[in-house]
Symmetry: C2
Subunit: 345 residues, 2 copies
DNA sequence: ATGAAAGCGCTAACAA
DNA sequence: TTGTTAGCGCTTTCAT
């Protein structure tokens, strides 16, 4: 090995020369379905590996006019649900020959900026599971024929592929889980910042309460993680302890929110769950099944969701002028120990 | 907007024509420090935005011979510690103008295969926080002058940049946290699959016990998550309940392992923690501070670690013939409620 | 400060 | 089946 710090990367030209063939032959040897004899392919492959040659994907993409890069735009990657979602999506992309560029974006501005950057890379598609991207981005994607799929974001726009959970069913289910075991004075806890899926499930919960003439309060907090749950818990505790008319059933729009509330209520206020207050969460993250929480919750299947999202994108890559679809997955109740009934559905 | 499905992507040529300048001028307008008059740059930028032009990074990379892509190779992205680590690393890369390709790899084979792929993209560097890559990969990186940094992997190899925690200090600290509050019959729980950092901290814990003449057992389990902790808990419970000579102090090599053990011991065996058994975990993931666990643990700072890793890589990108460095971060004890003392250090 | 021309490493017509 | 040739869209000397 030479010590030359300026050593040129080895190119198909070098391989061609060593193997005694043309550069096209080299190219063919590295293309899945290309017409080439086994003999020359073998020769090329040997020459290549002896030189440490690898195809330059930048050059290939330039020529073929498409990369096998895709973008994943995600927020709150360190939350349990999101990290699973992204892990699975990344795994699926990788398995199918695509390479995900990971863009972590917490705000809508960031989503916009980072999506723009993805355009520079000629990505084959963009998967978004953070804030809804501005419509300018969506328009641009369609102009550039870049598939985009939104996970749990904005059904408002029906000209873009989406994967969602059934928010109406979700809200109703939360209502049923709570009332079927006797809760009669309900409340919902949700982040102030609106988000299609999270806000939606709370909205339909409240709507169901109203339809059924069950009194319902709303609590808001700044975020959807554990700490936000803790912060909200104090007001909730007051409501629980408010005499005969105290709150007895709470729907938290995410599990992590529920954990924060649960902890604070139990340890700081000595409130019994489910004795005094029943709680239902949402997501069914791993921690919900941990022994100390045993949170009753509503499960959305991250695996199924991410797999479907990737599939949807690949479908559209193959067939660009498909009509936009909105896939809706249903959710399932999980009865554990923060509600009083433990029989199902 | 035309309906032409075959519409060509707009190139610098189109912009040049509209702006009435040369393609070089367009190129200059989009390069940070290029000699160009404000007037023409302005003209170009306007023409560009009116056409929806964006620089093709594939072509640019081909010409400049470097992309601003980097690789992140990570395992177990859905575990709390790893997802934080990756989130921060991605954020840092993004902020500094690099785009991370996310490779999720659970096995050493996968790490090898996926790193190989990264070579195809001419990545500016590779960050690895999964299994240690085979030495062939490391050699290849050095041959291709691709910076690589390992996080919490293999100090064995001193010809590659690494960020690690002080495993010796970690082991000793675990010992001190347990014994300073009276534990005298200790044990360590760790995954069977060896891993530099995880196995290392257990190793030094045991070594310290032996030096101090404190009896110590070893428990092994298959994995380092909650479920693996639960599985291991039964044997541990027996040991705790073994009369006068029962186990009274346990070091779990990861927090998630500790949660599994803790839950099972408390809820299935009615064992009091820290009454009958004191437990110390490792990582200080968010859940360790949750009210129902309040796990005493040893904190490794994910933020500091990831930031340092990114910085280290960028440093080496700037100065490729830097000598390899091994940065070691120290860890800090966090006393909560699974040990009996709550004062520190 | 600007433009002309060459070429980064590859693939894809087309010919042979 | 193979080689020749012409770009893909950009940056970068080198003149001007």
């Amino acid at each position: 090995m030479t010590d030359d710090p300026l050593k040129r990367r080895v190119t198909s030209f070098d391989v061609a020369r060593l193997a005694g063939v043309s550069r096209s032959a080299v190219s063919r040897a590295f293309s899945k379905d290309a017409v080439i004899s086994d003999a020359t392919r073998q020769k090329v492959l040997e020459a290549a590996s002896s030189l440490g040659y690898r195809v330059n994907f930048m050059a290939r993409s330039l020529q073929t006019r498409h990369s096998n890069l895709v973008g994943i735009v995600a927020s709150a990657l360190d939350s349990p649900f999101r990290s699973r979602q992204v892990k699975i999506a990344a795994r699926e992309f990788l398995q199918r020959g695509f390479r995900p560029i990971l863009m972590t974006a917490e705000t809508e501005d960031e989503v916009e900026k980072l999506s723009e950057i993805l355009f520079n890379y000629n990505v084959a598609g963009i998967l978004i599971t953070s804030a809804t991207p501005p419509s300018t981005i969506i328009a641009e994607c369609s102009r550039l024929s870049i598939p985009i799929v939104l996970v749990n974001r904005g059904l408002e726009m029906d000209d873009v592929d989406t994967i969602q959970i059934d928010i109406e069913q979700s809200g109703r289910l939360a209502f049923e889980m709570l009332t079927s075991s006797g809760a009669r004075r309900l409340a919902a806890l949700q982040p102030i910042a609106p988000s299609y899926s999270v806000t939606g499930r709370a909205k339909y919960f409240i709507q169901t309460c109203e339809q059924e003439n069950i009194p319902v309060q709303q609590f808001f907090t700044d975020g959807q993680d554990f700490a936000a749950g803790r912060r909200a818990a104090h007001t909730i505790a007051e409501s629980v302890l408010a005499g005969d008319a105290g709150l007895d059933g709470l729907f938290c729009a995410t599990d992590t929110l529920a954990f924060g509330v649960l902890d604070t209520l139990r340890h700081d206020y000595g409130i019994a769950v489910p004795g005094q207050l029943q709680i239902v969460g949402f997501d069914d993250v791993e921690q919900a099944s941990w022994g100390s929480y045993q949170l009753s919750t509503i499960r959305q299947d991250a695996e199924k969701q991410s797999v479907a999202a990737v599939e949807m994108m690949l479908n559209r890559i193959k067939n660009p002028n498909l009509k936009a679809r909105n896939i809706i997955h249903s959710v399932t109740p999980v009865y554990r120990k923060t509600t009083r009934t433990s029989h199902g559905v």
